[in-house]
Amino acid sequence: MVFEYAAAPESSAIVNIKSHYNLFIGGKFVKGKNNSNYKTINPATEEVLAEITEASVKDVNEAVKAARKAFKTWSKLTGSQRGKYLFRIARIIQERAREIAVLETMNNGKPIRESRDIDIPLVAAHFFHYAGWADKLDHAGLGKNPQPLGVAGQIIPWNFPLLMLAWKIAPALAAGNTVVLKPAETTPLTALLFAEICQQAELPDGVVNIITGAGETGKALVEHPDINKIAFTGSTEVGRLIAQSVAGTNKKVTLELGGKAANIVFDDAAIDQAVEGVVQGIFFNQGHVCCAGSRLLIQESISDNFMNLLYERMKNLRLGNPLDKNTDVGAINSAAQLAKIKELTQAGSAEGAEMWSAPCEIPNRGFWFAPTVFTNVSLSHRIAREEIFGPVLSVLTFRTPDEAIEKANNTPFGLSAGIWTEKGSRILEVANRLRAGVVWANTFNKFDPTSPFGGYKESGYGREGGRHGLEAYLKAGK
């Protein structure tokens, strides 16, 4: 081997993880009433990072009460005053970016390159974007003087812990709402660090409340009678339960759920960039991405050459210590998620698809899954229909653009899709016919706070990001 990259780990000394975390309610860290705790770990090492409070129904009540109290004053502030706090939070996030990125990587397992270059810069960008909206709500397309909804209950997933928090909290606060947010059970640490940032920014008490816990805590939040709005990002399964639970109430709901996106590569695509886009589409964040390009639709006439280039490219993916600056593929977030990925890939092999995995050395401890490709996949296979939420690509071929579109749309989901072709007219035609909330052309997994994001069909409803994202947190004005 020539010019092997030596270990280049980012130091974890910059983060200060406490041994125990309380709940953040009414601007203070308070003990849980049931004295029930659980441990959060680093999925790359299985080392325990901290003990986390499991919020009980009583704690949820306290948090909602604090948010309701704060709503009375927060909603009466002028937009520019609310914007001032949001700008302040955005700036603190930028100042503490390295610390936040390291903590995110330790608790989530994602490579530091991604938390440093993608997650945290986007978090700050979302706060800046909505800070700018706070005094311009009259121009959000919702009439004159639109009004906040009240208290928002927000439940976020573990795949982009702080980024999902930003997507939820920034528009809610800009619009004048107060929030009770529950981070995912396995990734609470950056949300708790965000609570400290709220204190540092002197955000009025109770405007943001962070309660930690698992499904029961989330259920208590969703069912709480004094909540005006539920925003959820996570699995379609839980999304369904939430929709049932709030049916017949006055609660507004937005759901951002699963996906099974098609990445369509036409024979006139820029091949090397398409290979790169497919790799980014499915192996970014270990495939723990709701809009991941998990189905590759490749035109038959170029499939042999394309697949060979894809395999060669995948051999260069560097799996390992997420804190190493040269790591491309980090750890799977939890033992449960790893079990799910294994179950679905075993089903893929059993159903007759052909499996190939990149030759990575798998570390002894922690949860890992090598980047994997299935060929000879039919649309009837589970790996072509169900969301794997892991670094697993299912490859299907097509002959004509019509066939590609038909196959791409043949899924209960509809969150995102990708088109690869050097022909502009084809991009426009295909994009119009794809039933997906986000369609990327000659790129994939590009996020921007100005752009709305959300799905069709079982991928959920409502939009987050941009002007559209405000609609989820405002009542239309006159």
């Binding site: 020539v2 010019f3 092997e4 030596a6 820029a270 090397d272 960039q273 260069n316």
Partner: protein, 320 residues
């Protein structure tokens, strides 16, 4: 290692140079290059962190890959003498520093360079074919090249006719490269595309293919006289063309980015591109060269920092 056997193209490629229209169809049938995508890939690879042992290895590898260059109107025999001394022994105080791969000079100074490098493995490369513009008759370009070869040049760095490229006379460029290749005899031929005048990545890819089909041993980005010279996305596009050519012909073509590579960091970014595009077989001076003049001193300063723990400074490396 470079192959010296004559280029025999496989059936799929054997008739693509049979006529202007065949060559044009072939070049325009190559898949396109997406500008945003290639620049994004380069940005990502540029974040590779090269530390400790990798840094030490990378510095020595980069030194061994340098074509130490002087291409000035005021070049003199004296200048060539000092350049050759530097090429042999880059750091006079540290004999563990390897020699560079070659010195690169104008063709009237080849004999001077050769005589100063007797007893070493350092090659002498001569720029030829009416370098840098390439604006001369074929007869003149052939004469220019054979003069350099006659004086003992081991390598010829020729330029393509960019005017012909923009006029769409691709076969003329192909024919010219073939003619020069014949005159080179056993000297290795590096074909300079002058990518700063080709402007688009699609053009860079097409010109790379013309050069490789015509028998280039190396393809090279730039003369150093036109800005921008060797940018990382251009280098990546050329490396990918080399990879595609290798897949189809099994022939390994070398790569030489030249111009604008000034720092150790720049050099490492190039090495990373090679490693993650073509692999370890290309990570040696037979397959990859860096055309540079000021890079060597930065590599020497970084090397000293790594071995002694302290930065020296520009006054502690020679300015030859």
């Amino acid at each position: 290692m470079l192959q010296n056997d004559p280029l025999v193209l496989p059936p799929l490629l054997s008739d693509v140079t049979s006529s202007e229209s065949a060559l044009r169809s072939f070049l325009f049938g190559l898949s396109g290059v997406d500008k945003v995508g290639v620049e994004q890939r380069v940005a990502e690879l540029s974040t590779r962190s090269i530390k400790t042992t990798a840094k030490a290895e990378g510095i020595d590898l980069a030194i061994k890959m340098i074509d130490l260059t002087t291409l000035e109107g005021m070049d003199t025999k004296g200048k060539i003498k000092t350049l050759c001394a530097k090429a042999r022994r880059p750091d006079p105080l540290d004999s563990s520093v390897p020699s560079v791969a070659a010195v690169c000079v104008y063709n009237d100074l080849v004999a001077e360079a050769k005589s100063n490098l007797v007893g070493t493995n350092i090659k002498v490369a001569a720029v030829a074919t009416a370098f840098p513009s390439g604006r001369a008759t074929l007869a003149t370009k052939i004469q220019d090249t054979s003069d350099a070869v006659a004086q003992g040049a081991d390598e010829i760095d020729m330029v393509i006719d960019r005017g012909a490229f923009h006029e769409g006379r691709f076969l003329d460029i192909y024919d010219q490269i073939q003619s020069i290749k014949q005159v080179c005899k056993s000297a290795h031929l590096k074909v300079i595309l002058e990518t700063g005048e080709l402007k688009t990545y699609d053009n860079v890819k097409r010109a790379s293919w013309i050069a490789m089909l015509a028998g280039a041993d190396f393809i090279k980005t730039s003369t150093g006289k036109i800005q921008p010279a060797a940018t990382l996305p251009v280098t990546l596009v050329m490396l990918q063309a080399i990879r595609d050519f290798h897949i189809q012909t099994r022939r390994m073509i070398g790569m030489k980015p030249a111009g604008g590579i000034k720092t150790t960091k720049d050099a490492f970014k190039n090495l990373v591109l090679v490693k993650e595009t073509l692999g370890d077989n290309w990570l040696n001076p037979d397959m990859f060269r860096i055309g540079a003049s000021s890079l060597l001193n930065d590599l020497l300063m970084q090397r000293k920092k790594l071995t002694t723990g302290a930065y020296s400074g520009p006054d502690y490396v020679t300015v030859d």
